[in-house]
Amino acid sequence: MSQQQFNQGDLIINGVSTAGGGEYGRVKIDGVGTVEGDIVCIDFDCDGMTKIRGALAAKTMDADGMFRVEGDLSAERSVIDGYMKVKGSLKGDSFSINGQLRVGGNCEIESFRAEGAFEVSGLLNVGTMDVLLHGRGKAGEIGGETIRVKRKSSGPLNKLLSWVMSRFATELHVESIEGDEIELEYTHAEVVRGNRVRIGRGCSIGLVEYRTELQAHPGAKIGKEAKIGG
């Protein structure tokens, strides 16, 4: 995003309202707010139900509650609590979410931290990824430097629910994971490729390729493993 300082005004919504897109300094939405069109701002802060009918570019973003973006989203630093859905792609330096994230396109994030559930349709490209699953995780592909996926130990209700309906199972489903340092739990993947790979409990991996080290939990299922390179 551009570094220029906007001398435009702020956008403040309290209650139920709709506003137009454009360039703003600060955007603050409380209640039920809709923005029609693309929006570029420095600070974006919303609580409640927020919908952007367009793309959003911000320097910092703090969203609580239900938050939907119909276009692409890019924000240098984001902190999200609640449910967030982005129809386009998601870009950022640091991104932290407690709750549920859904992205229709690709994700490019330097530092990605999530606690909860997530679904990325395309490629999730991360510098470091730290995920604690409370619900289901899903991605087309994951690639990056450090990739760490853990699961919150599930309570009895969750266990029952995942037994009845497998789509609620607290697991990560992904086609392939490629990275330098990989640490996984409860992950189903066709291929995992990395330098140092740790396959934890509850994993089911078709093929693991590693360069320096592979550690596997005795309970993990690995179809085939191969050490490559020097």
Partner: protein
């Protein structure tokens, strides 16, 4: 396996880089999205790259990454035209475009006239072909027109310039890259130039 493609695994091995580095460079837009070619093989989906392009690009990144930050590198390598400008006289002085070409194609412009990057790029490409002895002055004029008319339509996307000749009749085409192109027999491809590479080379002259 197609000889002009390289698989991701072979690439990493040949260049001694890690998955993390490759993804990092992709995030930084040092490696364009369209070079990632997905193909299904007997082991499942795999990613391939255009061999020459990716090998050259990775050498470039490895050579420059000690001196420049990744963001600076990204600026240098991106196909988006920068807002660099240069006076006509400087262009001649620094030998970016030969004086012969400038006399021919920009005789009416004053020496102090400032060219934007796209104008410079057109002169640069025409001059490059002229210097290689592959193109006549008249053809250069037509190329310049072609570029002026069609190059802006690519709007930052990668494209190639193809220069062909058949029975002495020459023609130019711009096509989005990477793409494959086949001709009837008798057509001689005089030159195929990556405009993105020309942009990089020209940007390199500012340092």
């Amino acid at each position: 396996m197609e000889p002009n493609l390289i698989s991701k695994k072979d690439l990493l091995e040949e260049k001694g880089i890690s998955y993390g580095q490759l993804y990092r460079w992709k995030r930084k837009q040092l490696i364009p999205e369209e070079w990632f070619i997905r193909k299904s093989t007997f082991t499942g989906q795999e990613t391939f790259f255009p061999r020459d392009l990716i090998l050259a690009r990775i050498d470039k990144i490895m050579n420059m990454k000690d001196d420049l930050s990744l963001d600076e590198l990204a600026d240098k390598l991106s196909p988006v035209l920068p807002d660099y400008e240069m006076r006509k006289s400087d262009l001649e002085k620094r030998n970016i475009v030969s004086s012969i070409a400038l006399q021919r194609f920009a005789a009416e412009d004053a020496g102090a006239l400032v060219y934007t990057f796209d104008k410079l790029l057109y002169f640069y490409v025409v001059d490059k072909l002229l210097q290689a002895g592959e193109m006549s002055m008249e053809e250069g004029e037509r190329l310049l027109e072609t570029l002026r008319e069609h190059f802006p339509k690519f709007a930052g996307k990668a494209c190639d310039l193809v220069f062909t000749r058949k029975m002495g009749v020459s023609s130019f085409a711009l096509l989005s890259a990477p793409s494959e192109l086949y001709f009837e027999s008798g057509v001689k491809v005089v030159a195929r130039i990556s405009m993105t590479e020309c942009i990089e080379q020209l940007k390199g002259k500012w340092v």
